[in-house]
Subunit: 236 residues, 2 copies
């Protein structure tokens, strides 16, 4: 647990639902929230647990994944700095339907549901922000459903690489915005795209032969994003 994180000075707060709070409410938030450091690979909450609040990601990267068939996991989405964890389950009044696991050392702030609901009742902007977020997630989920249902693995992998690049290397992002690279295990990639690890490895080799990507150990560097769009069968 960390004592010295002050939301008032939090550099990701402007990109969260809590960007505009009155001083008194900000003080309450600072007093209530509990910040915790998680090491790489640690799990913040597990599928099946009942939420008692929400988590706001101060630093790090999180994967949200469901238990699938025979213990194989399905990665549903990622959360980056400034993002909320567990909001869908809390708002829907349901158990977590997926677990949240860190991809790297991360700092997470827990906000009690009582505090959160009090704030969201007082600030319509918070409710609105949460509603917009969940609507976006649903739209993305439906797009992904369509890809999974209709595209071949090769197309889905190309698409997945492009989506991950957009997500992890966006200009305002946390990392060197210039290099278009992705660092994930091939197993995680397989669990995003919905295929076997071996298939991902083989297809990545193909992509490499076709000069679409390059690899350095685990790291995948996108060389030809237009080419990837074509192989992803993404029209524009």
């Amino acid at each position: 647990m960390l004592q010295d994180l002050d939301c008032r000075k939090c550099f990701v707060r402007s990109s969260t639902c809590f960007s505009d709070l009155l001083t008194e409410d900000m003080d309450e938030l600072v007093g209530q929230k509990i910040s915790t450091v998680y090491k790489k690979g640690q799990t913040i909450f597990y599928e099946g647990m009942m939420p008692t609040g929400i988590y706001c990601l101060h630093k790090g990267k999180i994967k949200i994944a469901k238990r699938g068939i025979d213990g194989k996991e399905q990665i549903v989405r990622f959360v980056l700095e400034g993002g909320l964890l567990g909001i869908r389950s809390l708002m829907g009044g349901r158990k977590y339907s997926a677990s949240a696991t860190t991809l790297e050392e991360s700092v997470v702030c827990y906000i009690d549901k009582k505090t959160f609901f009090k704030l969201s009742t007082k600030y319509p902007d918070i409710s609105h922000c949460v509603m917009t977020l969940i609507c976006t997630l649903l739209e993305e989920a439906e797009m992904k459903m369509t890809s999974l249902a209709q595209k071949h693995v090769r197309e889905r992998l190309a698409e997945g690489l492009l989506v991950l690049d957009e997500l992890f290397n966006k200009p305002g992002g946390c990392r060197a915005g210039d290099e278009h690279s992705i660092v994930l295990t091939r197993e995680d990639l397989a669990n995003i795209v919905g295929t076997a690890t071996e298939t991902v490895i083989r297809l990545l080799s193909d992509f490499k032969d076709e000069k679409l990507i390059d690899t350095e150990g685990r790291k995948i560097i996108l060389l030809d994003r237009e080419g990837l769009k074509k192989t992803a069968n993404n029209l524009p």
Copy 2:
């Protein structure tokens, strides 16, 4: 267009977000809403259009489907009597990401977004109901993503039949609640499950040989739901 539908007497209203309105607001709703009859196969809104309000389904069945690869459609969900159409797009302030098409003759009431937002601001229950609805849709979408990513077509089809049966034949539902049957084209089934029509046809023959289902023309009758659960690889 229909003139004589009165929300105050609407027999599905109790199952909608508008179950409790003051008389004055109910009067306004009756005045504002526009009811339209759509014939089987007609489309209420198209993917890509900007929503200007929401639709409430008074009577009938609607499929919500996205344009996928090479014009193949992906059925994202169904809406039954009392359900809302286009709510995700309206709340998210985005274009429709899917189209809504009737599966049978249907009566749909259109509510202007101004009226809807006015009501939802006045009645927190409406906002809450909408939030819960969208959270449920997201949870379902993520489950479906996992199935599409991890299960074989055979398992997905068995699962799909069970889900459709739950949906269309629920006890309080509109149809003979006793017969567990599904009436959809094999193409629609393929577009739910994410496969080719021929594969659905072949697998349905297999299921018939295995006494899991029976068919009468287009109609599919579920004979052995426990057996279907097993072949769907659904544990409980």
